[in-house]
Symmetry: C2
Subunit: 201 residues, 2 copies
DNA sequence: GATATAATATTAACACTGTAAAGTTAGATA
DNA sequence: TATCTAACTTTACAGTGTTAATATTATATC
């Protein structure tokens, strides 16, 4: 009676195959330059087969972005363990966030800039990966506030300020690679350092 | 012999007409949802006429964005006059920058996020409007640094840190309107205030 | 093993897209 | 009036996302 299970497994496998192909194409050539037909070609299925697994192209993008968020979450959570100082932990998290964005620039843009243009929902619903990523940030910040390392301020606002800073620098570095930036690592560190100092002040 | 001039004027007029129509459509319905045919319909010309005035759709986007930058520059320069304290002037400029982005969210995204995806060049070349906007920021910052109001730091880096912050918060507010943000104005003020405090520290 | 049934995949088609090439028209020059 | 030229349109092509109808395949039942 394992037939059903095997079938389900096979179905999931094809779903994954589509996702892998879609991510690779989206990331290398940009979401709007990739057609359903191109994805279909890559996996050697007919274009319409994709619609048996995903509602439409935006839904496919959505699933790719969910994976990216999961990837980001895992990357961040690997840090958490080995750092006792909460401010230092926050600094490292910020650094890791930006580095993640620069390591997978297209994934980052897809998730945090392109996707919102197509899917109006935020992807931060109850139990979603996006929510978990945000909770991670919230916890980090909360620790700093509780230990009075920051000036008295709403935890939510504090988190949002930090997010603004890292999101901003990540996108600028991605979008304007030719701009005469300060040396990249120095800029990232300075952005994070400045923001954290500002939160202490 | 005024014929040539009249013709040139008419030509420029149609160019402007196309730009106005394109901006309105792009801004209201999004760049990727607008076809050349829709723009052509709006101005009551055939679609291919547009190609006599603009190289392609990306070039048309480009011109729309140039106008946006000019608009931003004018908005910013109106501030300059009436503020003697350089830090306060910088704060106001930051505030104005974000407000501009939120007042014309689609223009902002078009210029600072969508455009770089299509036109790899930055649009900050010698003599360009983009360069002027950036010079404005540079001057503001420079004033603060010269008057020792900020901790000793490279003017370029300081400017880039500020730009990161305001760019970040602007985009987050645009892209995730449903997120449970701190009250919008408070968040913007806090982002700018925190960054500036961090630069002093 | 043959047949009915359900799952999965494909073909054909529609209404669009950006844009190149060729054709048309109106006004200026000679 | 004939010719030239700039401005604009028509036509056409190859490609797009997506739907409905159809075909194929694999399983379950007899």
């Amino acid at each position: 009676m394992g037939t059903k299970e095997r079938r389900a497994r096979e179905k999931e496998q094809l779903r994954q195959q589509i996702l892998v192909a879609a991510r690779e194409l989206f990331v290398n050539e940009g979401y709007e330059n990739i057609s359903m037909r191109k994805i279909a070609n890559k996996i050697e299925y007919s274009p319409t087969t994709i619609y048996l697994y995903f509602k439409d192209k935006a839904d496919l993008l959505d699933s790719v972005c969910q994976e990216t968020l999961l990837n980001l979450l895992n990357t961040l959570e690997q840090l958490k363990r080995d750092e006792s100082d909460p401010v230092e932990a926050l600094r490292k998290s910020g650094r890791t966030y930006v580095e993640f964005g620069l390591k997978y620039p297209q994934d980052y843009k897809l998730t945090f800039v392109i996707r919102p243009q197509f899917q109006k929902g935020l992807g931060l619903e109850e139990g979603s990966v996006g929510e978990k990523v945000f909770n991670y940030l919230r916890e980090m910040v909360s620790e700093c506030v509780q230990q009075k390392r920051f000036r008295q301020m709403d935890v939510e606002t504090t988190g949002q300020v930090l997010w603004s800073a890292v999101h901003g620098v990540t996108l600028l570095l991605i979008d304007f690679p030719d701009f005469p930036w300060t040396e990249k690592d120095e800029l990232i560190d300075t952005v994070i350092h400045t923001t954290i100092e500002g939160l202490k002040a």
